[in-house]
Structures are given as C-alpha cells and as structure tokens.
Symmetry: C2
Subunit: 382 residues, 2 copies
C-alpha cells in the first residue's frame, strides 16, 4: 500500500510512537492528575513532557497553555465558542474546513453572531486587504486555516495576525495541515488561539489534538467536569490547562504524540519540510505533465504544503480514488474532504477532487508509482 | 504494584487490547469514514464492530445509536447540553460527579435552567419517592449516577427510569462506575441517554467513552465539524452517529475498546460481577474488622460495586494514599474524587476519603496485602 492520505491522518508513525503507547498502557496506565500514587504521577509527568515539547515546537512560552483535545475539531469548537458572545462578528476565509464553518453557521443561524467569509482566489489564497476590509466595529475574532486541506495553499497568517493584534481582534489559526509541517511561532505570528491535530503532521496517534490559548486570555468552556483540581468547587476552574481538560485524558495517545513531536524536534522540522517539499514538487511536476489532469491550488512550492488536489477529465474523483486503491494499491481521498467552502472557492463543489497528500515517510519511488498509476489510468480513460 | 484505583481507570487491560491497538496503528491506521481506500474501510469496519459489541452489552437495538466520545465527561456534557433549553428544570442527585454538577451549575448560573438536587441518605442511596417529589411541570431531564464513584452505592435506576418514562421526562444515566460491571439494559431501564467510559469497566484504553441516545431523540450538539458525510452542507448532519462525532475518531483507542468489550462478552458479565463481588465482600469484611477504620456507603453487596471509601481515624486521606503507595506499593486515591456533591452527602467534604477500587484483575492475595497494609499502618497510627 502506498499511503497518500496523510492530510486525513499520517501513516505510518515513528516506531517510538507505537512503543510508547504500549509502554504507557502496560507500565503507567493510570489516570493522570487524579491521585498521588506512582503510576498516576508517571502518567502526569509524561503528559507534561508532551506539553513541553509542543510548547517548544510552537514557541509557546508556558507549556500549561497547551490543552489536549480529542482532535482539531474539538479544539476549533472550543476556540470559536469560547470567545464569541452574542452580538460579535467573526471573520473566516473561503478556504475553511467544515470544522470552522459548521460551528459558526450554527451560531449565526441562532442569531447570536454575524460572520463574514473572506473570499480566496482561484489558487486558494486569502487576501490580507480583503480581510482588513471585512473588519467591523464588533469583530471579535478572525479564523484562518494555515494551509488548505483541499489544495495545500498556505495563507498569510503572519500578516493577518499582525493586523488582528493591532486592531485588538482575537486571531485563531487552524493548523490541521501545518502543525509539525510548517514552522509555527505563536508569538511572532500573534496567534491567540491555535488548534492543531496530534495525528497528522505531529505524527501521533488518532484521538489526539490540542488547543493553545494565549496566557491571559480566558475562554468560556464547552465542557465542564472533573479536573482533578478544586474538587470542592461546583464550578469549572479558571486556570489552565484544567479549565479546558475535563475528564480523563487520552494518556496512551498523548504518550504516543510526545514521541511524534520528539521525532520532529530531533530530526528537525526544517529538514522534514525540505524533504516533503522535494517530494511535493516531484509529484506536482509529474502531474503537470500528464494531459487531462487538472491541478488546483498554487504551483509555488514555497506557498504550499504536500496536499495536492486534482481531477482527471471526465472521471468522478471518488471513482478514481477507488481505482487507485483497488488496482494500484494507492490510498488517496476523493470527494469534498469535509470542506464545503474550499471546494466552493475552487469551483469543485460539483465534482469534488482527488486528493493526494504527502507525508514524511513517503518516498520518491512511491511518487513514481503514483505517477505511473495516474498515467496508466489516464490511458484507459482516454 | 497492587492497583486499587480502578474507579479512576482500570488497569491492567486484557492483552488483546494492547495488541489490537498496535495492530490498528500498524495495519489499518487510516482515518475511518473519510475515504474509500482499504485501510480507511478497515478502520471504519473496526469502529462499527465496536458499536455492535457495545450495543449487544447494553441491549441497544441500533448500534448506530452508539457515538464515541473522548471520555464520560464529554458524553455527559453532550447529553445535558443537548436536551436542556432555556426554562427547563433538571433533577440530579446528591451523589453526582462534578461532570454532572459543573455543566448544570454553569447553566443554572446563567439563568438558563433550574435544578433540584435530590438528597441521598448516609449510605449514598437516592430515594425514588424524593425524586418523584422533585418533579415540576417543566422538568425535562433526570440525571442519575448508576453507582457512586466515591462509595460504590448503586442507585435505583430501574425505578427512576420507569417514572421518568411515565411522566415523559428524559432519563440520563451516568454509567462511569458500572458500564461493564453491572448489567445495563437501556430498554428495560428506560434510559434515553447513557454516558459511559471506555477505559474503566469496559477495559479499553483511556481516550475512549461513549454516548447512547435513544432512537428518535435528537440532541442539540456541543461540537460541529467534519463528519465525512454531507460535506456539501454547512450544517451538522441530523443522523447518528455522525451528528455526535465531529472530527477524527480515536481509532486505535476504539479498536482497543472493542477488545475490552469482547473480553466481557466472552467471559460473561455476570461471572465478572460475581468475581468482583467476592473480592469486594472480602475486602469490606476485612476492613470492618480493623478498628479506627470508618467505612462509607452500604454493606449490602447486592447494592454496591467494588468502589470502597474509608477513613482511618485522624489521618488525612491523601497522606494515607501516599503511605500506601510509598511503603506498600498499593495504588489508591485520596481526597474528593472530583465529587463535591457525594462527599457533601457523606459528610466527608472536609476530610475526603481513601478510595480503594477493585477491578476484575485484582486477586484475593492482593486484598490480603491491602488489609495487611492498613492493619500495619493503623498500628503505627495508634
């Protein structure tokens, strides 16, 4: 199997991820932060270690500002619902995933908030100028996807973050496709809220994600419950990370995630990015040369990640995905990728696209096979 | 290490749990329900298998009514916030965990809902009569913990469920301490909403929990996002389980949980309960005979699970927990166990209690050692 579905979840993971998950389950599989016995303390320490490593990767000054969630969607919901109040205006982009669009559409429908969707261009780029134009007096939050999960286009988060900070507007970044893949510095990027997956670029297991909330910013909560702290209080604590972490954490998942993050810190994010860039460029160049293949997004390798969307003239993207699986043992993804807005922007809402997404364990040889498959399939189609 | 903290999370797990998690990560670690390639389909099938096994265990007619969550707290929040609207009245009991109390207190504070807390008696039993008396015209929901996470007392959920159904009031059960441990039949118990952990009595890994919502009952959502379905719609789907499962699921966790549930189905829940009952009785009898030990909850073994709370005269429960760990290698839990209400009921809010909680992998020999330790420690104290 040639796995080209890394935008959905990365696979495989570094060996240490598997090993540490089992290590955790077998040797310190207690509930972290809930008791003082040694297994519980070991579990707590491992979780704190993971907070520290994530903080290092994203230049977060205080590791306690990293809360763990079950996935990016949860973190996004916590961010959006945690800061938007009745009467607020929010700006999102035409490249957002349904995890941003759906919570906001729901809040808009009930009349609580208003929303402006800043259009992106045909390559998926959001204009900083248009974003500025959309700012209203009651704009509370700007949400931007760092890189599109459909076509890989990277948005100007640095610029938008600067403007948001100047205008005293909260800035939230959806790093679903970039955490562990592109450099993220919450301080220089003026990010107030960062939502990220554990199981994609950070190479951890599914069931992990995270939320960074800037120190001093206290969000409303969407879940309250036991936190192992202030148990005598009937109200949710206001300190981090407890405020955002109710109930038992996914300790083995976080132990695995910690190994994924360590793998990135050890091997160098820039080096991994460089490798993925080479593979992406190689695949893109190959695809551009195949007739009847239409590619979406930008060809500028500096402004994109390894998430590639295409269509083969006349073929349904889901069907192509199935053929790639059945006849060529290639895992990809067709359809709409849970991204109504992005496909609307790319004018692919009717057809969807075939998405090939690269991970750091793919090889040039695999790309050759993918190109061969698409060429071969194309021959049959024509 | 003698692990007596199973009420926080069960440990160890059946070997098949560890094995299947790694099997999943290595061989079908794709994103379930997000594509049509074989690894994604394998992941989806495994998740459906787990829904089926849970449905079998709880006599749930349609496995799609089982949604996966990150933990019980999340499921409880989804249940409570999913059905309570402005103006509603909710009844909870004096034995609820903070995972029930805190979301309700928050909703009460904002003036959205009103709440009656039905007192429990000194043994932790909630009176059905008092529950009935608390019903108001606008009572929408009754929430009852199946068994106390502090003292193990089992509540009359059958009777309360019957009354709730007759009065057309929704009935939600928090099965944090009973799922996989006591028989649960959502149909005969008239349970509309069941919140349960995957990582306690069901013997799965941390990071798993579940929500059952009766067919025909549609709850409001606390999270919306990508579901892999209806991607062209900016609104959350109204069908299960997608409505309640936004973002990537914890596939390796659920694969492990499936093995935990299979272990229970294979070995027989009644048999496991019988074994745990014997151990509990043995421990209780031993503890009753130690002077200066004060036990909480009921001595009626038929009306309790293996969650035992005690205090040793004059000793701080957290300190006792630490001594048990350091000097006797026994893992327990002191303090308030995230249960303000239950400790208030048991009049242990000031002192907390030492909690010893039994799991199906404990042995009589271990209980002997625990009794020896407490006897020994007691000798030092006196």
């Amino acid at each position: 199997m040639i796995y080209m579905d890394n935008a959905a979840t990365s696979w495989p993971k570094p060996k240490a991820v598997y090993q540490e998950m089992i290590n955790c389950m077998k040797y310190y599989g207690a509930n972290p932060g809930r008791s003082g016995h040694r297994m519980s303390i070991m579990a707590s320490e491992k979780i704190y270690e993971c907070r520290e490593n994530i903080a290092r990767l994203f230049n977060i000054p205080n590791p306690l500002c990293v809360s763990f969630t079950g996935n990016t969607t949860e973190a996004i919901n916590m961010g959006i619902k945690g800061c938007l109040k009745k009467g607020d205006h929010v700006i999102i982009t035409g490249m957002e995933h349904n995890s941003v669009l759906r919570p906001i559409k729901k809040m808009e429908m009930t009349g609580d908030i208003s929303c402006t969707i800043v259009d992106a261009d045909q390559e998926g780029f959001v204009s900083v100028k248009d974003t500025v134009k959309s700012i209203q007096n009651n704009t509370k939050l700007i949400v931007v996807t760092h890189a599109s999960n459909v076509c890989g286009t990277v948005n100007p988060v640095h610029e938008i973050g600067k403007i948001a900070r100047e205008r005293n507007i909260l800035f939230m970044v959806d790093a679903a496709q970039t955490a562990g893949i592109l450099p993220i510095d919450v301080q220089s990027m003026n990010i107030d809220i960062l939502a990220f997956p554990g199981h994609k670029g950070l190479l951890g297991p599914q069931g992990t994600g995270g939320l960074y909330v800037r120190e001093g910013l206290v969000l409303d909560t969407i879940k309250e419950g036991g936190t192992g702290s202030n148990s005598e209080e009937p109200y949710q604590p206001d300190f981090v990370p407890d405020r955002y972490e109710s109930g038992t954490l996914n300790t083995p998942g976080i132990a695995g995630l910690n190994e994924g993050v360590k793998y990135i810190l050890k091997n160098g994010q820039e080096e991994i990015r460089q490798y993925e860039k080479e593979l992406t460029l190689y695949l893109l160049e190959g695809l551009y040369s195949i007739k009847k293949v239409k590619l979406y997004g930008t060809s500028d390798i500096e402004k994109r990640v390894g998430v590639i969307s295409l269509n083969i003239d006349g073929k349904d993207s889901v069907e192509v995905c199935n053929i790639l699986d059945e006849q060529y043992q290639i895992a990809s993804r067709g359809g709409l990728h849970c991204s109504y807005l992005a496909h609307k922007t790319l004018q692919t809402l009717e057809t969807g696209t075939l998405r090939l997404s690269i991970g750091c364990f793919n090889t040039k040889k695999e790309i050759d096979k993918v190109l061969h498959a698409i060429n071969h399939m194309n021959g049959f189609i024509s």
